[in-house]
Amino acid sequence: MAKNRPTRYQCHIPLNRVEGDLEIRVVVEDGVIVDAWSSGTMFRGFESLLVGRSAMDSLVITPRICGICSTSHLMAAAMALDAVARITIPDNAVRLRNLALMAENLQSDLRQSILMYMVDFAHACYADRPWFEEAVRRYAPMRGSSVIEVIRETKKIPEIIAILGGQWPHTSFMVPGGVVLPARAAELRLCRFILDGYRRWYERRILGDVLESWHAVTDVREWVEQSVSRRESELGFFVRIALDLGLDRIGGAHGAFLSYGSLPLPRRTGIHPQEDAAQLVPSGFFRKGNLEPLDPERITEHVACSWFKEYKGGLHPYKGRTQPQPPQPGENDGRYSWAKAPRYGPFAPETGPLAEALISDQPIFRKLVGKTGGSAFVRQLARLVRPVFMIPVMDAWLIELEHNPEGAVYQQPEALHAGKGSGMIQAARGALGHWVRLKNGLIDHYQIITPTAWNGSPRDGNGLRGPWEEALIGVPVRDPAHPVEAGHVIRSFDPCLVCTVHAVTAGTQPRLA
């Protein structure tokens, strides 16, 4: 720490490499973060944009919320309209929708891990660590060997979405009742070819072993050290660095985890994750070792610390309002974010791959969270290994489609005139929900809660911090000019990533964390 710095001070951490703008303000005392505020600095207003439009417009507009997880928004929007129509879609439509969503998540998980997370290990502040030179060789921006390889490999997997859905990103091929077109045999074979290539690359470079080997893990450090290929893989290198830096001891949030569940199972399929399971990824609420069934009625949004027209307590998304109330110059009324504060009952759970792993009862993650209460390490680890569970299921569903090429992919719903419905899924970053109410065939009400709204929420009316605000408490900051430790914690939640090509402007200065 710099000389003469007071023992207690406040600093702002501009966090780039996120989609949308995010500012973190922390109070540091004796070199440790003792309080934190997360501020979303941009209002978007998609929900207001939808009101008064045709019900089907949500299938085109909501995917534009994000260039990384556009398929997730399409899936949630289509499922909400399925619910309004009270329709059960055909099995092949379930498979095609799921495959598109899974392909999107496969891309996101690896890009986030290597391009957005590991890059901080190549920061000059770690020049004294024994692994630093190797980290620079792998993760240096623009030229690291792993960076280049991940960009090359991950650009291939969304081809599956383009083949099945007509385009990537921002496809609108899911509609109430199913999807707009079946997949031909040649297209399915091409999808399997792409997936197989991705699998072989993932096994060779990311995991360092065949997918099945991960199911036997009982101790992560031991598992990594059992072979050279595992040790030298991206997963192995991550584990060695993360444990050396103590990332397994920082970054735990409230110890509460939420999954809406995702990837509904076809009625006839060879995939049976658990007895009586309706979805591949189960829903639930996990806290202090206890798993409870998800009760969607307990979901509310608070605006006590958000720049929206105030209401008391929290409102369920069917009753929620999005009425912006921008801050006035010089105003200091305790509000500090354009994000609302979603809550599950009185709790502020985190969501994402770790929540999915805990709620689907993966022993290694139950053990790691039970031991440390959650951490930046275990959160990132869950994201890195999620493809282990997705890839084989994708292959199985592609084969099932090949075996039943004439199966229906669309069930005509009755006219979408009035009613309400929700689409609740797990996007790459966690729980994503769309809640819609129709009146006279038009959208009368639309509310969306994104995963980052859960993870990056501000305080609620009870003063409860959002998950990553809480996760920052107790994090040591060695150098306030380069608070990489805080970055490790925030990025373990995966607050989105670079996705735009904007105007080219001469003389632009970089804004680096």
Binding site: R111, M142, R152, C499, T500, V501, H502, V504, P510, R511
Partner: protein, 147 residues
């Protein structure tokens, strides 16, 4: 005959600061393009545009170019000139410089000839027409040179 040249119009038609590409796209959509030329509305797709540089010999990028010359002028830049604006930046707003910087390392197959053409935000219709004409000229010249 497959596609040899591609015109890639970038930007956001809902944001006037960044709408030169979509405006040129609209003009080009009503013109007869040279043979084997493909016109694409590239939007703001970042790394997902990488595929658009593969399998062709020429890519003409149309984008908003602020700060490179007089307002109302048609600006033209090379890939290297745009890549040099990257300054190591790879965050959410890294934009086209990041894409041009990283392209040679991640392009499957030979990197095509790239021309970046555009104008400043708010340029008048005549400038948009001039950009569209230059795009067509480039692709025509290239079609004539190609075997």
């Amino acid at each position: 005959m497959g596609c040899r040249a591609r015109i890639l119009c970038l930007g956001n038609r809902l944001w006037s600061v960044d709408d030169i590409g979509p405006r040129v796209f609209d003009v080009l959509s009503n013109l007869e393009l040279p043979s084997a030329t493909e016109l694409i509305d590239g939007g703001v797709r970042g790394l997902d545009l990488l595929y658009r540089f593969e399998g062709v010999w020429l890519v003409v990028i149309v984008d908003t170019l602020n700060g490179f010359g007089d307002h109302g002028a048609v600006i033209e830049l090379t890939r290297a000139e745009v890549a040099n604006l990257c300054h190591g930046r790879f965050d959410h707003v890294a934009g086209l410089p990041y894409l041009m910087h990283i392209l040679p390392q991640v392009c499957d197959g030979p990197v095509p000839v790239i021309r970046i053409i555009g104008a400043a935000s708010g340029s008048k219709a005549a400038v948009i027409e001039a950009i569209a004409t230059r795009c067509v000229d480039y692709c025509s010249q290239f079609a004539a040179l190609a075997p």
